[in-house]
C-alpha cells in the first residue's frame, strides 16, 4: 500500500523533472531542422530558474483569479499524473480516484482558469487569445467525447490502466481499425490542445496571431514560471497518456520491485523522445492554419474518431 503511494509520488516527480527537458529537446530539434544551432536542451530549466528569481508584478486592477491561476495551472497536470500510467502497468494508489474523463475535466479546469485570468487583466490581447482558445476548445470537445467513448467501449473501462491492458495481449487487438483510427484522432487532438503547429505556433510571438501564448502575456516572475512549467507538464502528461495507454503500451514496469519501476523511466523517456521526433516532423513540414481553417482540421479529427466508432459499433 505505502509502496504504491510512493510510486505515485515518483510518477509525479518524473513528470515534474522531465517535462522541461521534453520542451527543450523539442525546441532544439526544431532549430536543427531549420539549419540553426538552437539553445541548449536545458534552456527551459534555466528559464524557469530565472523566472523564479525575478520580481513579480501584478496589475492593481486584477482580481484574485489572476493570482490564483498559476498555481492551478501548475497543479492540474500533476493531479492527472496520479491517474495515468507513467511508469507502471498496474494501477497505483490513486488510479481509481478518477477515470480518463475525470482527467480531462481536471486538465480543462486549468485551461478554464487560464482563460479567465487572460480576460481578467484588461490587456487587449488577452481576451483575443482567450476567445480563440475557447473556440479551439469547443471544437475539440466532441472529438474528446467520441475518442473517450470509443476507447472505453472497446476496452470495457474508462480507467487508463485497464484500457492499456487491452492493446497489449493479443497483437491482433493492436491492429484493430478502430484503434489505429483513434490514434490518428488523438494525435490531432494533442496538436490542437497543446497549441502545436497546424493549430497554433508555439514559438511565434506575434500578438495578433497568438492563441495559447497570449494567455500568459501579463505574467511575470513566479507566476510566469508556474504557467510555463504547467504548460510543459500538460504536454508531457498528454503525450504520456497517448503513448503509454494507446500507442506503445509496452515497456512499463510489470512488478512491484523498485528496480523495474526505475528502469521504466528511461523507457518512458525514450518513447517521449520518439514522439518528440514525430512532433518535430509535423511542426517542420506543415504550416500554421488560418484561424478559420482550424475548424476543418478538427472536423477531420472528428470524422476520424467517428469512423473509429462506427467501425467498432457496427462490427458484424
Amino acid at each position: 500500500m505505502a509502496q504504491r503511494i510512493w510510486y505515485n509520488v515518483l510518477q509525479m516527480a518524473v513528470v515534474l523533472v522531465f517535462s522541461p527537458l521534453m520542451a527543450g529537446v523539442l525546441n532544439r530539434l526544431k532549430e536543427i531542422v531549420q539549419s540553426k544551432r538552437g539553445p541548449s536542451i536545458f534552456q527551459p530549466y534555466r528559464d524557469l530558474w530565472k523566472y523564479f528569481h525575478k520580481d513579480e508584478i501584478v496589475s492593481r486592477e486584477s482580481s484574485w483569479i489572476f493570482r490564483f491561476t498559476p498555481y492551478l495551472v501548475f497543479v492540474t497536470p500533476l493531479f492527472v499524473t496520479l491517474l495515468i500510467p507513467v511508469l507502471t502497468d498496474y494501477p497505483l494508489f490513486f488510479a481509481f480516484m478518477g477515470d480518463m474523463l475525470g482527467g480531462g475535466f481536471v486538465l480543462a479546469l486549468g485551461g478554464f482558469f487560464a482563460t479567465l485570468a487572460a480576460v481578467d487583466t484588461g490587456n487587449p490581447y488577452g481576451p483575443v487569445g482567450a476567445s480563440r482558445t475557447r473556440m479551439v476548445g469547443f471544437l475539440a470537445e466532441p472529438v474528446f467525447m467520441i475518442v473517450f467513448f470509443t476507447v472505453s467501449f472497446v476496452a470495457g473501462s474508462t480507467i487508463p490502466f485497464i484500457v492499456q491492458q487491452r492493446w497489449v495481449t493479443p497483437p491482433s487487438n493492436f491492429f484493430e481499425p478502430s484503434h489505429i483510427l483513434l490514434l490518428l484522432a488523438f494525435l490531432m487532438l494533442i496538436l490542437a490542445e497543446g497549441g502545436r503547429i497546424p493549430v497554433d505556433n508555439p514559438s511565434g510571438h506575434f500578438e495578433l496571431a497568438m492563441i495559447d501564448e497570449s494567455k500568459s502575456l501579463e505574467y511575470s516572475g513566479r507566476g510566469m514560471a508556474l504557467m510555463k512549467w504547467g504548460g510543459q507538464m500538460k504536454l508531457f502528461v498528454l503525450s504520456c497518456i497517448y503513448l503509454n495507454v494507446l500507442v506503445t503500451p509496452w515497456g512499463l514496469a510489470h512488478d512491484q520491485a523498485l528496480g523495474s519501476v526505475l528502469l521504466a523511466i528511461p523507457f518512458t523517456l525514450l518513447k517521449v523522445l520518439a514522439f518528440v521526433l514525430v512532433l518535430v516532423v509535423i511542426e517542420s513540414s506543415m504550416a500554421k492554419l488560418r484561424l478559420f481553417r482550424i475548424s476543418e482540421f478538427l472536423g477531420a479529427a472528428f470524422i476520424t474518431s467517428v469512423a473509429a466508432m462506427i467501425m467498432r459499433l457496427f462490427a458484424f
Binding site: S172, F175, E176, S178, I180, G299, A300, I303, I310, F314
Partner: protein
Amino acid sequence: MHDPAAVPWLESLNALTGGLFLLTAFGLVALRQVYGCLRLYVIQSILLASSAFLLAALDHSWHLVAVGVLDASTKAIAVPWVFRRALHDEVQTRREITQVLNVPTALLLALALAIVAYLLAAPLVAAGGGRGVNVNLPVGLAGLFVGGLTAALRREAVPLFLGLLAMENSSFFAGIAVAPDLPLLAEVAIAFDVLILVLVVNVLTRAVHEHIGTTKVGALRTLRERETR
C-alpha cells in the same frame, strides 16, 4: 486448411485497410489541393490492392492476387501517370477555394452517409458471403456514397472525376469480398475501362480549359458544343 493462428491477424489487417480506405474516401471530400486528391486516390487504390492480397491470403485464391496486381498497376501507376502527363500544370496546382458546401458541413454529410451505409449493409452482411464481407461490404458501400457526394460537391473537374473513380474503387472494394471468383476477364475489362475513362476526361477537361481558361465545371452553364461567348 487454414492456419488458425494466422487468420485473426489477416482479418484484423484487412479491417485496418478497410478503416483507412474509409478515411481516404472522407479525405477526397475535404482536400483542397488537386495534387493532394490525386495522391489520396493513389493511396486508396493501394489500400484496395492490399485488401485484395489479404483476402487472397485468407482464401488461398490466386485469382484475387491477379486482381490486386491488376488494380495496383492500373490505378496506382497508370492513372496518375496519365493525369500528370496530360493535364495542364495550372489545373494541377490550382486550389479549390470555393466548394458548394463548406468543408465541415460536407464532412458531416459524408459521415451521415457512411452511417447510413453501415445500416444498409447490416442485412446484406447477415445474408452471408465470402470472407471479409463484414468489413469490405459496409466500407465499400460507404465509400460509394461518399464518392458520389464528392462528385456532387466538387466544382473543379479533376477532383470531381476523382470522386467518380473513388466510387468505382469502392464498389470494387466491396466486390472482391462479395464475389471473389468473378471471371478475370470482367476485371481486366473494368481496369481497362477506368484507363480509357481517364483519357477521355483528360481530353474533355483540356478542351474545356482551352475554351474558357478554367476547369471549374461549376461555372459552366451549358454543355453545348458551340463556342462560348
